[in-house]
């Protein structure tokens, strides 16, 4: 498939009049289906392109019906399949047999909106707490957040005796994890046989909260989904709203946005590389990496005024400009960081204890990576070369030369090396962007009430592809904001790669995913 439209033509030829195709909407095209034809469209796409996978499944409350949008990515196109189910009988056929990676997405839609996926009925809650009352779905429009009455906390039942299998609970308070989430790891001796996750400890109901705040307030709200990749969240939301408004930001703003996003990537990768050292008991490496991360935090403070929350993105451009007097400092700091990288590369290449703990640990094959729809360095470490900055360029990335980093080994060591090389690429991108910064305004005015419409935006966060779907209804408040974060897509791969390995390999394996549960739970 060399042309994006080719795959749409394939669908058209197979299904003809049974579906409506709107080119240019919600990606390359939006395909509206009725009567459960979404499975046929998906089958047609899978047959045409083996790299088809699910990016997200959005559920929307449309009043009488519930809309279910399947956002599907192929090698070079992005298609949204729309389906609707009536609220009083919200049943729709599942797609997990076609794409196994869709399991978590379906679970979330059924948890928060009450859509029942026939063939994939799951018990319990994904993100909601155990004392959430049955039958109340928070994302439906008739549910008011302050009026929900919660059940008293349920009594934990004693686990059944499993013979020689031992169940170890990792979390919610655990020194290995910065965030609370629970993994019940069943071990036989020292070998892991099953991993059962329980997420939702950090679920703050941001998607519902965004519907009762204005667009500008929402920029600051979605930024706080995650402190580590905050610029990407803000950018995702802002880009989607700008697509609805059909505004084009000035060139200077595009380059400044690239600088902010890449600084964010730098500090996040250095954080993960250090944190991985802590997991394998290598405190010295952790301290060295975080020592070298501090100058980057100083740079973020220099450009935006705040160490963690840059808050530079706004609808219509960026909020602040870079002063010309600051540019030499940015360049020298980046050069100093670049000089330190060969030392770290040498450590990863030659240090025997790192190789003993990281090589052949958590190996994910390329086929599994494609089937489970993983994103980011996890995919690129297994030979699956996706990178939104290259596949679907946004802002100024189309004009800046840089390399896509791909390793084929698929183990923890490969994923860490991907991040290390991406640090160098980010340094190159920032320096190019600063050298070629166009003149002009860095912000334009946009109206307060956004016209009715819907759009998506994808960008490459440090952990992988971050996806936003925004629907507006003509007022100053959004109708629906849906976020699909990269860790949400990567967790199923961890559940698979941990099995059959030593329990001591679980922390390094887990950290190599670079999990961010505040992103996952929202």
């Amino acid at each position: 498939m060399s042309n994006k439209i080719d795959i749409i033509n394939v669908v058209k030829s197979k299904l003809g009049d049974k579906v409506q195709i709107q080119l240019g909407q919600l990606g390359t095209a939006a395909i509206n289906t009725n009567n459960g034809l979404h499975r046929d469209v998906l089958k047609a796409l899978l047959e045409a392109d083996e790299k088809t996978g699910i990016t997200a499944i959005s559920g929307v409350d449309l009043g009488v019906n519930l809309g279910v949008l399947y956002h599907v990515h192929t090698s070079n196109a992005f298609v949204t399949i729309r389906a609707e189910v009536p609220k009083d009988n919200p049943k729709i056929q599942t797609i997990v047999d076609l794409i196994p990676g869709a399991a978590f997405h379906e679970f979330e839609v059924s948890d928060l909106l009450g859509v029942i996926f026939v063939g994939n009925e799951l018990k319990g809650h994904l993100v909601l707490s155990e004392n959430w009352p049955e039958g109340i779905f928070p994302l439906r429009k008739d549910v008011k957040a302050t009026e929900v009455k919660l059940n008293p906390a349920p009594v934990e039942e004693k686990a059944p005796d499993m013979g020689k299998l031992v169940k170890i609970i990792i979390g919610p308070q655990h020194p290995a994890l910065l965030e609370p989430e629970k993994f019940a790891v069943t071990v036989d001796g020292e070998i892991v046989t099953k991993v059962e996750p329980r997420i939702g400890y950090v679920h703050r109901g941001i998607e519902k909260a965004s519907e009762s705040r204005t667009y500008i307030q929402d920029v600051y709200l979605v930024e706080r989904i995650c402190g580590i990749c905050n610029a990407c969240h803000a950018y995702g939301f802002v880009a989607a709203v700008e697509k609805i408004l059909k505004t084009e930001v000035p060139e200077r703003a595009k380059y400044l946005r690239v600088v902010t996003l890449e600084l964010n990537r730098l500090h996040s990768h250095l954080l993960t590389l250090g944190h991985a050292g802590l997991e394998i008991g290598y405190e010295t490496l952790f301290q060295y990496f975080w020592r070298d991360r501090e100058p980057i935090m100083d740079l973020i403070e220099l450009t935006s005024g705040n160490r963690v929350y840059a808050s530079l993105m706004t609808i219509g451009g960026v909020r602040r400009d870079i002063k010309d007097t600051d540019i030499p400092k940015i360049k020298t700091t980046l050069e100093d960081l670049r000089k330190k990288l060969p030392f770290y590369r040498q450590v990863y290449e030659n240090e025997p204890s790192i190789k003993a703990r990281m090589r052949n640990v958590g190996t994910l094959s390329r086929e599994d990576a494609i089937k489970l729809c993983v994103v980011g360095p996890v995919a690129r470490g297994s030979g699956y070369d996706i990178d939104v900055r290259k596949d679907d360029p946004y802002e100024a990335y189309g004009q800046i030369p840089f390399n896509k980093i791909v390793y084929t080994e698929g183990d923890t060591w490969a994923r860490m090396n991907v991040r290390m090389d991406e640090v160098e690429e980010s340094i190159n991108i920032i320096q190019y962007a600063i050298d070629h910064l166009p003149t002009g305004p860095f912000r334009i005015d946009v109206p307060r009430n956004v016209i009715a419409g819907e759009s998506i935006s994808r960008n490459e966060a440090p952990r992988g592809e971050l996806f936003y779907y925004v629907k507006s209804n003509g007022t100053a408040f959004p109708e629906r904001v849906k976020v699909r974060t990269p860790t949400f897509a990567n967790i199923p791969s961890f559940l698979k790669t941990a099995i059959g390995e030593n329990i001591a390999d679980v922390p390094p394996n887990f950290v190599s995913l670079d999990p961010c549960f505040s992103c996952t739970d929202r």
Partner: protein, 190 residues
């Protein structure tokens, strides 16, 4: 004897970090405290893995419904004397997430808090300042050495006040911790 004990407690506070539903911003600033630029080990602060070993509980995050129960349990597992520090705007009051359906909103709705450190996220220097202030508050206040004029002024003031008899309200000592009234059901069921 108590002086030595207080000295030991002030010089060796072991902390446990618990994230009760935070965005990670405050947590990475807490971990940054251990790194060379801020180096909190100078003050004897050690990050401990187990609640049983820790003296100070650093809580971040607007407490989510699922974490509320766990937070209470972790607090109960810590041995006395123990202190709680709420770090960040979310831990103090719920922050941007106040009113959301899954959010309790503030650590003091679940466990008693000794110190609040506001900010979104607070800088590592601010967290360090808060922890040091908490530790210094544990020391009993030293009586100030007064100069001769100050002593005379104080004596005159005491004389004047002794002549006026007014019903004084009960004064609560500054070091006495005020425990908020917590009813078990109400913290979780809104």
């Amino acid at each position: 004897m108590t002086n030595t004990v207080t000295w030991a407690r002030v010089k060796s506070p072991w902390v446990l970090h618990f994230n009760s539903g935070a965005c990670n911003g405050c947590d990475i600033e807490i971990v940054a405290l251990l790194t060379p630029k801020y180096d909190v080990e100078r003050f004897g602060v050690k990050l401990e893995p187990s609640p049983r070993h820790a003296d100070v509980l650093l809580v971040t995050g607007c407490v989510t419904q699922q974490c509320a129960e766990r937070l209470k349990r972790v607090y109960d597992q810590m041995p006395q004397p123990k202190f709680v520090v709420a770090i960040g705007a979310c831990a103090c009051s719920g922050g941007v997430f106040q009113g959301n359906y899954n959010v309790v909103g503030g650590v003091d709705k679940v466990i008693p808090v000794t110190a609040y450190i506001p900010g979104c996220p607070p800088r590592p220097e601010a967290i360090l300042d808060g922890v040091v202030k908490l530790l210094n508050a544990l020391n009993p206040p030293k009586p100030k050495k007064l100069s001769k004029q100050e002593k005379q002024a104080l004596a005159l003031k005491a004389e004047a006040e002794a002549k006026v008899v007014v019903a004084q309200p009960e004064v609560v000592a500054a070091t006495q911790q005020v425990k908020p009234v917590i009813e078990e059901e109400k913290t979780i069921v809104k």
